[in-house]
Symmetry: none
Subunit: 250 residues, 2 copies
Protein backbone atom coordinates (compact mmCIF):
# COMPACT_ATOMS: atom_id res chain seq x y z
CA UNK A 1 0.00 0.00 0.00
CA UNK A 2 1.53 3.37 -0.96
CA UNK A 3 1.69 5.81 1.94
CA UNK A 4 1.45 9.60 1.96
CA UNK A 5 4.21 11.37 3.91
CA UNK A 6 1.88 12.01 6.85
CA UNK A 7 0.88 8.35 7.15
CA UNK A 8 4.47 7.28 6.65
CA UNK A 9 5.76 9.62 9.34
CA UNK A 10 3.10 8.58 11.83
CA UNK A 11 4.07 4.91 11.49
CA UNK A 12 7.73 5.88 11.72
CA UNK A 13 6.96 7.88 14.86
CA UNK A 14 5.14 4.96 16.51
CA UNK A 15 7.98 2.54 15.72
CA UNK A 16 10.70 4.79 17.10
CA UNK A 17 8.67 5.79 20.18
CA UNK A 18 7.99 2.12 20.98
CA UNK A 19 11.70 1.37 20.59
CA UNK A 20 12.63 4.22 22.93
CA UNK A 21 10.03 3.20 25.51
CA UNK A 22 11.38 -0.36 25.45
CA UNK A 23 14.93 0.94 25.84
CA UNK A 24 13.88 3.12 28.78
CA UNK A 25 12.30 0.14 30.55
CA UNK A 26 15.34 -1.98 29.75
CA UNK A 27 17.71 0.56 31.32
CA UNK A 28 15.53 0.93 34.37
CA UNK A 29 15.25 -2.83 34.85
CA UNK A 30 18.98 -3.34 34.34
CA UNK A 31 19.61 -1.20 37.41
CA UNK A 32 16.85 -2.48 39.62
CA UNK A 33 17.18 -6.26 39.61
CA UNK A 34 18.54 -5.85 43.13
CA UNK A 35 15.26 -4.43 44.41
CA UNK A 36 13.71 -7.87 44.33
CA UNK A 37 14.60 -11.00 46.33
CA UNK A 38 16.22 -14.02 44.68
CA UNK A 39 12.90 -15.82 44.57
CA UNK A 40 11.28 -13.25 42.25
CA UNK A 41 14.47 -12.36 40.38
CA UNK A 42 13.51 -14.54 37.36
CA UNK A 43 10.54 -12.23 36.71
CA UNK A 44 12.77 -9.17 36.53
CA UNK A 45 15.35 -10.96 34.42
CA UNK A 46 12.65 -12.09 32.02
CA UNK A 47 11.46 -8.49 31.70
CA UNK A 48 15.03 -7.39 31.02
CA UNK A 49 15.35 -9.97 28.26
CA UNK A 50 11.93 -9.14 26.82
CA UNK A 51 12.59 -5.43 26.50
CA UNK A 52 16.18 -5.93 25.35
CA UNK A 53 15.10 -8.24 22.55
CA UNK A 54 12.11 -6.11 21.66
CA UNK A 55 14.20 -2.94 21.54
CA UNK A 56 16.55 -4.56 19.06
CA UNK A 57 13.61 -5.84 17.09
CA UNK A 58 12.27 -2.29 16.79
CA UNK A 59 15.64 -1.04 15.58
CA UNK A 60 15.38 -3.71 12.91
CA UNK A 61 11.77 -2.73 12.13
CA UNK A 62 12.71 0.93 11.69
CA UNK A 63 15.51 0.00 9.30
CA UNK A 64 13.22 -2.31 7.32
CA UNK A 65 10.55 0.36 7.22
CA UNK A 66 13.05 2.90 5.90
CA UNK A 67 14.20 0.49 3.23
CA UNK A 68 10.80 -0.92 2.34
CA UNK A 69 9.45 2.33 0.92
CA UNK A 70 10.79 4.63 -1.77
CA UNK A 71 9.73 8.27 -1.89
CA UNK A 72 8.58 9.00 -5.43
CA UNK A 73 6.69 12.16 -6.39
CA UNK A 74 5.74 12.86 -2.80
CA UNK A 75 4.35 9.38 -2.08
CA UNK A 76 6.07 6.50 -0.34
CA UNK A 77 5.81 3.48 -2.68
CA UNK A 78 6.39 0.08 -1.12
CA UNK A 79 9.15 -1.80 -2.89
CA UNK A 80 9.74 -5.54 -3.11
CA UNK A 81 10.78 -5.74 0.54
CA UNK A 82 7.83 -3.97 2.10
CA UNK A 83 6.27 -7.12 3.58
CA UNK A 84 9.18 -7.00 5.98
CA UNK A 85 7.53 -4.29 8.01
CA UNK A 86 5.05 -6.81 9.43
CA UNK A 87 6.93 -10.08 9.30
CA UNK A 88 9.83 -9.20 11.67
CA UNK A 89 7.30 -8.64 14.43
CA UNK A 90 6.60 -12.38 14.56
CA UNK A 91 10.29 -13.05 15.17
CA UNK A 92 10.25 -10.76 18.17
CA UNK A 93 7.02 -12.31 19.48
CA UNK A 94 8.27 -15.89 19.08
CA UNK A 95 10.81 -15.14 21.79
CA UNK A 96 9.20 -12.41 23.86
CA UNK A 97 5.70 -13.85 24.30
CA UNK A 98 7.07 -17.09 25.84
CA UNK A 99 9.30 -14.93 28.05
CA UNK A 100 6.32 -12.83 29.11
CA UNK A 101 4.73 -16.10 30.27
CA UNK A 102 7.82 -16.84 32.36
CA UNK A 103 7.66 -13.32 33.77
CA UNK A 104 3.98 -13.78 34.63
CA UNK A 105 4.47 -17.11 36.33
CA UNK A 106 7.56 -16.14 38.32
CA UNK A 107 5.65 -13.84 40.68
CA UNK A 108 2.64 -16.15 41.05
CA UNK A 109 1.94 -18.43 43.97
CA UNK A 110 2.47 -21.53 41.82
CA UNK A 111 5.78 -23.10 42.87
CA UNK A 112 7.83 -26.26 42.62
CA UNK A 113 6.84 -29.06 40.27
CA UNK A 114 3.49 -27.43 39.46
CA UNK A 115 5.34 -24.28 38.38
CA UNK A 116 7.67 -26.27 36.14
CA UNK A 117 4.73 -27.98 34.47
CA UNK A 118 2.74 -24.77 34.06
CA UNK A 119 5.78 -22.96 32.70
CA UNK A 120 6.31 -25.65 30.11
CA UNK A 121 2.66 -25.42 29.06
CA UNK A 122 2.60 -21.62 28.89
CA UNK A 123 5.84 -21.32 26.97
CA UNK A 124 4.84 -24.07 24.53
CA UNK A 125 1.39 -22.67 23.85
CA UNK A 126 2.75 -19.15 23.38
CA UNK A 127 5.39 -20.27 20.94
CA UNK A 128 2.95 -22.39 18.92
CA UNK A 129 0.45 -19.54 18.82
CA UNK A 130 3.04 -17.25 17.21
CA UNK A 131 4.54 -19.91 14.95
CA UNK A 132 1.19 -20.91 13.45
CA UNK A 133 0.23 -17.27 12.95
CA UNK A 134 3.53 -16.68 11.18
CA UNK A 135 3.02 -19.67 8.88
CA UNK A 136 -0.38 -18.29 7.86
CA UNK A 137 0.90 -14.76 7.37
CA UNK A 138 4.14 -15.45 5.52
CA UNK A 139 4.98 -19.06 4.77
CA UNK A 140 2.11 -21.03 3.28
CA UNK A 141 1.75 -20.05 -0.37
CA UNK A 142 4.18 -17.24 0.42
CA UNK A 143 1.62 -15.40 2.49
CA UNK A 144 -0.63 -14.70 -0.48
CA UNK A 145 -3.43 -17.11 0.30
CA UNK A 146 -6.42 -15.81 2.15
CA UNK A 147 -7.58 -19.35 2.95
CA UNK A 148 -4.24 -20.20 4.53
CA UNK A 149 -4.32 -16.98 6.50
CA UNK A 150 -7.74 -17.82 7.91
CA UNK A 151 -7.02 -21.51 8.54
CA UNK A 152 -3.77 -20.89 10.40
CA UNK A 153 -5.42 -17.99 12.22
CA UNK A 154 -7.99 -20.42 13.58
CA UNK A 155 -5.29 -22.85 14.72
CA UNK A 156 -3.39 -20.01 16.36
CA UNK A 157 -6.56 -18.83 18.08
CA UNK A 158 -6.98 -22.27 19.68
CA UNK A 159 -3.62 -21.83 21.41
CA UNK A 160 -4.63 -18.28 22.25
CA UNK A 161 -7.81 -19.51 23.98
CA UNK A 162 -5.90 -22.21 25.87
CA UNK A 163 -3.43 -19.61 27.12
CA UNK A 164 -6.25 -17.52 28.54
CA UNK A 165 -7.52 -20.53 30.50
CA UNK A 166 -4.10 -21.30 31.99
CA UNK A 167 -3.28 -17.66 32.80
CA UNK A 168 -6.57 -17.10 34.58
CA UNK A 169 -6.16 -20.34 36.53
CA UNK A 170 -2.72 -19.19 37.73
CA UNK A 171 -4.14 -15.83 38.77
CA UNK A 172 -6.97 -17.49 40.72
CA UNK A 173 -4.61 -19.82 42.50
CA UNK A 174 -2.45 -16.87 43.58
CA UNK A 175 -5.26 -15.01 45.24
CA UNK A 176 -4.99 -16.25 48.80
CA UNK A 177 -1.22 -16.62 48.75
CA UNK A 178 -0.12 -12.99 48.51
CA UNK A 179 -0.96 -9.71 50.21
CA UNK A 180 -4.03 -7.80 49.01
CA UNK A 181 -1.98 -4.97 47.50
CA UNK A 182 0.28 -7.36 45.59
CA UNK A 183 -2.72 -9.30 44.36
CA UNK A 184 -4.43 -6.15 43.06
CA UNK A 185 -1.37 -5.25 41.01
CA UNK A 186 -1.08 -8.84 39.80
CA UNK A 187 -4.71 -8.83 38.73
CA UNK A 188 -4.22 -5.50 36.97
CA UNK A 189 -1.19 -6.89 35.15
CA UNK A 190 -3.25 -9.85 33.94
CA UNK A 191 -6.13 -7.65 32.84
CA UNK A 192 -3.74 -5.35 30.98
CA UNK A 193 -2.01 -8.24 29.23
CA UNK A 194 -5.17 -10.04 28.17
CA UNK A 195 -6.88 -6.84 26.99
CA UNK A 196 -4.03 -5.77 24.75
CA UNK A 197 -3.73 -9.33 23.46
CA UNK A 198 -7.16 -8.80 21.97
CA UNK A 199 -5.61 -6.41 19.47
CA UNK A 200 -3.25 -8.91 17.80
CA UNK A 201 -5.83 -11.25 16.27
CA UNK A 202 -8.00 -8.25 15.33
CA UNK A 203 -5.08 -6.71 13.44
CA UNK A 204 -4.40 -10.09 11.82
CA UNK A 205 -8.02 -10.26 10.66
CA UNK A 206 -7.99 -6.64 9.46
CA UNK A 207 -5.31 -7.39 6.91
CA UNK A 208 -7.58 -10.05 5.42
CA UNK A 209 -10.51 -7.73 4.85
CA UNK A 210 -9.25 -4.18 4.62
CA UNK A 211 -6.73 -2.23 2.61
CA UNK A 212 -5.76 1.41 2.21
CA UNK A 213 -3.10 3.55 3.81
CA UNK A 214 -5.01 4.42 6.98
CA UNK A 215 -5.61 0.74 7.73
CA UNK A 216 -1.88 0.19 7.43
CA UNK A 217 -1.34 3.07 9.82
CA UNK A 218 -3.92 1.66 12.25
CA UNK A 219 -2.35 -1.80 12.24
CA UNK A 220 1.21 -0.57 12.65
CA UNK A 221 0.50 2.12 15.24
CA UNK A 222 -1.78 -0.32 17.05
CA UNK A 223 0.97 -2.95 17.22
CA UNK A 224 3.44 -0.39 18.54
CA UNK A 225 1.04 0.79 21.23
CA UNK A 226 0.07 -2.78 22.17
CA UNK A 227 3.73 -3.78 22.42
CA UNK A 228 4.43 -0.87 24.77
CA UNK A 229 1.47 -1.85 26.96
CA UNK A 230 2.24 -5.59 26.92
CA UNK A 231 5.94 -5.24 27.61
CA UNK A 232 6.56 -1.95 29.43
CA UNK A 233 3.24 -1.47 31.23
CA UNK A 234 2.95 -5.16 32.10
CA UNK A 235 6.62 -5.24 33.11
CA UNK A 236 6.18 -2.29 35.44
CA UNK A 237 3.20 -3.94 37.15
CA UNK A 238 4.98 -7.30 37.53
CA UNK A 239 8.01 -5.46 38.94
CA UNK A 240 5.71 -3.88 41.49
CA UNK A 241 4.25 -7.27 42.46
CA UNK A 242 7.76 -8.66 42.84
CA UNK A 243 8.77 -5.75 45.08
CA UNK A 244 5.65 -6.02 47.23
CA UNK A 245 6.08 -9.76 47.63
CA UNK A 246 9.74 -9.26 48.51
CA UNK A 247 8.67 -6.85 51.25
CA UNK A 248 6.10 -9.38 52.54
CA UNK A 249 8.84 -11.96 53.04
CA UNK A 250 10.88 -9.87 55.43
CA UNK B 1 16.45 25.19 2.97
CA UNK B 2 19.90 24.90 1.34
CA UNK B 3 22.71 25.42 3.82
CA UNK B 4 26.18 26.88 3.27
CA UNK B 5 29.03 24.77 4.62
CA UNK B 6 29.42 27.03 7.65
CA UNK B 7 25.75 26.78 8.62
CA UNK B 8 25.76 23.06 7.95
CA UNK B 9 28.81 22.47 10.08
CA UNK B 10 27.47 24.55 12.95
CA UNK B 11 24.30 22.43 13.13
CA UNK B 12 26.37 19.28 12.84
CA UNK B 13 28.58 20.50 15.70
CA UNK B 14 25.60 21.22 17.96
CA UNK B 15 24.06 17.79 17.31
CA UNK B 16 27.23 15.89 18.08
CA UNK B 17 28.03 17.99 21.15
CA UNK B 18 24.54 17.44 22.55
CA UNK B 19 24.90 13.70 21.94
CA UNK B 20 28.23 13.63 23.77
CA UNK B 21 26.88 15.66 26.71
CA UNK B 22 23.96 13.25 27.05
CA UNK B 23 26.32 10.27 26.91
CA UNK B 24 28.49 11.84 29.61
CA UNK B 25 25.51 12.31 31.93
CA UNK B 26 24.32 8.80 31.14
CA UNK B 27 27.66 7.29 32.13
CA UNK B 28 27.83 9.35 35.29
CA UNK B 29 24.31 8.33 36.30
CA UNK B 30 24.95 4.68 35.45
CA UNK B 31 27.60 4.58 38.14
CA UNK B 32 25.90 6.65 40.78
CA UNK B 33 22.48 5.12 41.27
CA UNK B 34 23.82 3.80 44.56
CA UNK B 35 24.38 7.30 45.97
CA UNK B 36 20.69 7.71 46.54
CA UNK B 37 18.36 5.80 48.87
CA UNK B 38 15.75 3.40 47.50
CA UNK B 39 13.05 6.00 47.95
CA UNK B 40 14.60 8.45 45.45
CA UNK B 41 16.07 5.78 43.18
CA UNK B 42 13.24 6.15 40.61
CA UNK B 43 14.41 9.72 39.92
CA UNK B 44 17.92 8.56 39.09
CA UNK B 45 16.65 5.63 37.04
CA UNK B 46 14.40 7.98 35.08
CA UNK B 47 17.36 10.25 34.36
CA UNK B 48 19.35 7.23 33.22
CA UNK B 49 16.59 6.25 30.82
CA UNK B 50 16.11 9.84 29.60
CA UNK B 51 19.76 10.38 28.71
CA UNK B 52 20.16 6.86 27.31
CA UNK B 53 17.23 7.32 24.97
CA UNK B 54 18.20 10.88 24.06
CA UNK B 55 21.79 9.89 23.31
CA UNK B 56 20.56 7.26 20.90
CA UNK B 57 18.14 9.73 19.40
CA UNK B 58 21.01 12.14 18.70
CA UNK B 59 23.00 9.39 17.02
CA UNK B 60 19.97 8.89 14.81
CA UNK B 61 19.63 12.67 14.22
CA UNK B 62 23.26 12.95 13.14
CA UNK B 63 22.82 10.09 10.68
CA UNK B 64 19.61 11.58 9.29
CA UNK B 65 21.25 15.00 9.03
CA UNK B 66 24.16 13.50 7.09
CA UNK B 67 21.80 11.73 4.72
CA UNK B 68 19.28 14.55 4.37
CA UNK B 69 21.66 16.95 2.61
CA UNK B 70 23.73 16.53 -0.53
CA UNK B 71 26.77 18.73 -1.08
CA UNK B 72 26.52 20.17 -4.57
CA UNK B 73 28.72 23.03 -5.83
CA UNK B 74 29.70 24.01 -2.33
CA UNK B 75 26.15 24.18 -0.95
CA UNK B 76 24.28 21.56 1.06
CA UNK B 77 21.01 20.93 -0.78
CA UNK B 78 18.28 19.21 1.23
CA UNK B 79 17.06 16.07 -0.49
CA UNK B 80 13.73 14.30 -0.17
CA UNK B 81 14.49 13.14 3.36
CA UNK B 82 15.50 16.48 4.87
CA UNK B 83 12.34 16.82 6.97
CA UNK B 84 13.82 14.01 8.97
CA UNK B 85 16.20 16.35 10.73
CA UNK B 86 13.36 17.90 12.72
CA UNK B 87 10.83 15.09 12.94
CA UNK B 88 12.93 12.54 14.85
CA UNK B 89 13.16 15.00 17.73
CA UNK B 90 9.49 14.49 18.48
CA UNK B 91 10.04 10.74 18.82
CA UNK B 92 12.68 11.34 21.46
CA UNK B 93 10.49 13.87 23.28
CA UNK B 94 7.45 11.57 23.28
CA UNK B 95 9.35 9.26 25.61
CA UNK B 96 11.77 11.57 27.41
CA UNK B 97 9.44 14.41 28.39
CA UNK B 98 7.06 12.03 30.22
CA UNK B 99 10.11 10.48 31.89
CA UNK B 100 11.36 13.92 32.92
CA UNK B 101 8.01 14.33 34.66
CA UNK B 102 8.57 11.06 36.55
CA UNK B 103 12.06 12.27 37.47
CA UNK B 104 10.66 15.57 38.73
CA UNK B 105 7.95 13.98 40.83
CA UNK B 106 10.14 11.25 42.33
CA UNK B 107 12.10 13.68 44.53
CA UNK B 108 9.07 15.77 45.50
CA UNK B 109 7.18 15.53 48.78
CA UNK B 110 4.10 14.14 47.04
CA UNK B 111 3.80 10.44 47.94
CA UNK B 112 1.43 7.47 47.93
CA UNK B 113 -1.88 7.64 46.11
CA UNK B 114 -1.51 11.38 45.43
CA UNK B 115 1.82 10.69 43.75
CA UNK B 116 0.30 7.97 41.57
CA UNK B 117 -2.48 10.30 40.47
CA UNK B 118 -0.13 13.24 39.81
CA UNK B 119 2.30 11.00 37.92
CA UNK B 120 -0.47 9.78 35.68
CA UNK B 121 -1.57 13.37 34.98
CA UNK B 122 1.94 14.64 34.29
CA UNK B 123 2.90 11.75 32.03
CA UNK B 124 -0.37 11.93 30.12
CA UNK B 125 -0.23 15.70 29.60
CA UNK B 126 3.40 15.55 28.51
CA UNK B 127 2.76 12.80 25.98
CA UNK B 128 -0.30 14.53 24.54
CA UNK B 129 1.60 17.84 24.27
CA UNK B 130 4.27 16.17 22.13
CA UNK B 131 1.86 14.02 20.11
CA UNK B 132 -0.36 16.95 19.12
CA UNK B 133 2.70 19.02 18.19
CA UNK B 134 3.92 16.15 16.03
CA UNK B 135 0.57 15.80 14.27
CA UNK B 136 0.66 19.49 13.39
CA UNK B 137 4.28 19.42 12.27
CA UNK B 138 4.28 16.23 10.23
CA UNK B 139 1.04 14.30 9.89
CA UNK B 140 -1.94 16.46 9.06
CA UNK B 141 -1.76 17.29 5.35
CA UNK B 142 1.74 15.85 5.47
CA UNK B 143 3.00 18.77 7.55
CA UNK B 144 2.54 21.27 4.73
CA UNK B 145 -0.45 23.13 6.10
CA UNK B 146 0.17 26.31 8.02
CA UNK B 147 -3.38 26.23 9.43
CA UNK B 148 -2.88 22.71 10.78
CA UNK B 149 0.45 23.72 12.26
CA UNK B 150 -1.14 26.63 14.11
CA UNK B 151 -4.28 24.75 15.20
CA UNK B 152 -2.36 21.78 16.62
CA UNK B 153 0.15 24.19 18.14
CA UNK B 154 -2.69 25.79 20.08
CA UNK B 155 -3.94 22.40 21.30
CA UNK B 156 -0.43 21.43 22.31
CA UNK B 157 -0.02 24.72 24.15
CA UNK B 158 -3.09 23.98 26.25
CA UNK B 159 -1.37 20.83 27.57
CA UNK B 160 1.79 22.89 28.00
CA UNK B 161 -0.05 25.42 30.18
CA UNK B 162 -1.70 22.67 32.24
CA UNK B 163 1.71 21.09 32.85
CA UNK B 164 3.03 24.36 34.23
CA UNK B 165 0.16 24.52 36.71
CA UNK B 166 0.71 20.96 37.96
CA UNK B 167 4.51 21.30 38.18
CA UNK B 168 4.33 24.52 40.16
CA UNK B 169 1.75 23.01 42.48
CA UNK B 170 4.06 20.05 43.19
CA UNK B 171 6.94 22.42 43.87
CA UNK B 172 4.85 24.49 46.30
CA UNK B 173 3.66 21.42 48.15
CA UNK B 174 7.25 20.25 48.61
CA UNK B 175 8.43 23.44 50.23
CA UNK B 176 7.93 22.59 53.89
CA UNK B 177 8.70 18.92 53.51
CA UNK B 178 12.40 19.06 52.69
CA UNK B 179 15.51 20.82 53.97
CA UNK B 180 16.18 24.39 52.82
CA UNK B 181 19.19 23.39 50.75
CA UNK B 182 17.35 20.59 48.98
CA UNK B 183 14.41 22.87 48.32
CA UNK B 184 16.62 25.55 46.77
CA UNK B 185 18.06 23.03 44.32
CA UNK B 186 14.60 21.68 43.60
CA UNK B 187 13.32 25.19 42.90
CA UNK B 188 16.30 25.85 40.63
CA UNK B 189 15.63 22.62 38.75
CA UNK B 190 12.03 23.70 38.18
CA UNK B 191 13.04 27.19 37.04
CA UNK B 192 15.62 25.74 34.66
CA UNK B 193 13.15 23.26 33.19
CA UNK B 194 10.33 25.73 32.69
CA UNK B 195 12.61 28.42 31.23
CA UNK B 196 14.12 26.17 28.59
CA UNK B 197 10.66 24.80 27.81
CA UNK B 198 9.86 28.29 26.59
CA UNK B 199 12.15 27.71 23.62
CA UNK B 200 10.27 24.76 22.13
CA UNK B 201 7.00 26.51 21.22
CA UNK B 202 9.00 29.56 20.04
CA UNK B 203 11.00 27.37 17.66
CA UNK B 204 7.78 25.73 16.50
CA UNK B 205 6.29 29.15 15.73
CA UNK B 206 9.49 30.31 14.02
CA UNK B 207 9.12 27.65 11.36
CA UNK B 208 5.69 29.02 10.52
CA UNK B 209 6.86 32.55 9.91
CA UNK B 210 10.53 32.47 9.03
CA UNK B 211 12.75 30.76 6.50
CA UNK B 212 16.36 30.99 5.45
CA UNK B 213 19.46 29.12 6.46
CA UNK B 214 20.24 31.11 9.60
CA UNK B 215 16.77 30.44 10.98
CA UNK B 216 17.33 26.75 10.40
CA UNK B 217 20.63 27.05 12.25
CA UNK B 218 18.96 28.93 15.11
CA UNK B 219 16.21 26.35 15.48
CA UNK B 220 18.52 23.35 15.36
CA UNK B 221 21.26 24.76 17.57
CA UNK B 222 18.60 26.06 19.95
CA UNK B 223 17.01 22.63 20.26
CA UNK B 224 20.37 21.04 20.93
CA UNK B 225 21.20 23.57 23.64
CA UNK B 226 17.74 23.32 25.19
CA UNK B 227 17.94 19.53 25.25
CA UNK B 228 21.26 19.66 27.07
CA UNK B 229 19.84 22.05 29.66
CA UNK B 230 16.55 20.17 30.10
CA UNK B 231 18.11 16.73 30.37
CA UNK B 232 21.66 17.09 31.65
CA UNK B 233 21.39 20.30 33.67
CA UNK B 234 18.00 19.39 35.08
CA UNK B 235 19.19 15.83 35.74
CA UNK B 236 22.21 17.06 37.66
CA UNK B 237 20.04 19.29 39.87
CA UNK B 238 17.51 16.54 40.54
CA UNK B 239 20.36 14.18 41.39
CA UNK B 240 21.58 16.74 43.91
CA UNK B 241 18.12 17.01 45.48
CA UNK B 242 17.92 13.21 45.73
CA UNK B 243 21.33 13.09 47.43
CA UNK B 244 20.48 15.86 49.88
CA UNK B 245 17.17 14.25 50.75
CA UNK B 246 18.91 10.90 51.22
CA UNK B 247 21.28 12.59 53.67
CA UNK B 248 18.35 14.15 55.55
CA UNK B 249 16.86 10.70 56.14
CA UNK B 250 19.88 9.34 57.94
C1 LIG C 1 -4.60 -15.18 18.24
C2 LIG C 1 -3.79 -14.92 17.00
C3 LIG C 1 -2.58 -14.27 17.04
C4 LIG C 1 -2.16 -13.76 18.35
C5 LIG C 1 -1.06 -13.06 18.65
C6 LIG C 1 -0.74 -12.52 19.95
C7 LIG C 1 -1.64 -12.68 21.10
C8 LIG C 1 0.42 -11.86 20.04
C9 LIG C 1 0.91 -11.23 21.21
C10 LIG C 1 2.02 -10.52 21.11
C11 LIG C 1 2.58 -9.80 22.21
C12 LIG C 1 1.94 -9.73 23.52
C13 LIG C 1 3.72 -9.19 21.96
C14 LIG C 1 4.45 -8.53 22.96
O1 LIG C 1 4.46 -7.36 23.02
C15 LIG C 1 -1.75 -14.11 15.78
C16 LIG C 1 -0.36 -14.69 15.96
C17 LIG C 1 -1.64 -12.64 15.37
C18 LIG C 1 -2.33 -14.88 14.60
C19 LIG C 1 -3.80 -14.81 14.54
C20 LIG C 1 -4.42 -15.42 15.74
C1 LIG D 1 3.99 24.00 23.64
C2 LIG D 1 4.27 23.40 22.29
C3 LIG D 1 5.28 22.46 22.12
C4 LIG D 1 6.10 22.16 23.29
C5 LIG D 1 7.17 21.37 23.37
C6 LIG D 1 7.97 21.15 24.54
C7 LIG D 1 7.71 21.85 25.79
C8 LIG D 1 8.98 20.27 24.42
C9 LIG D 1 9.91 19.96 25.42
C10 LIG D 1 10.91 19.16 25.13
C11 LIG D 1 11.93 18.80 26.05
C12 LIG D 1 11.99 19.33 27.42
C13 LIG D 1 12.83 17.94 25.61
C14 LIG D 1 13.83 17.39 26.42
O1 LIG D 1 14.95 17.72 26.28
C15 LIG D 1 5.48 21.79 20.77
C16 LIG D 1 5.41 20.28 20.89
C17 LIG D 1 6.82 22.18 20.15
C18 LIG D 1 4.39 22.14 19.78
C19 LIG D 1 3.96 23.55 19.84
C20 LIG D 1 3.40 23.86 21.19
Amino acid sequence: VPLGPGAHDLIHFSLVVAGFALLAHFLRTWHSTGEVSARYRPAVLASLAVTGVAFLSYVYLVLEFDQGYDLREGVYQPNAEALNTLVPRYMDWAVTVPLLMVEFLAVSAVVGAAARRTRFTLVGLAFLMILTGFIGAAVQEDGTSRTALIAWGVVSSAFYAALHVVLIRVLRRSRGAMGAQAYTSYRNATILLLSVWGWYPIAYALQVWFGGQWWTVTIQVGFSAADIAAKVGFGALIHKVAKLRTAEEV
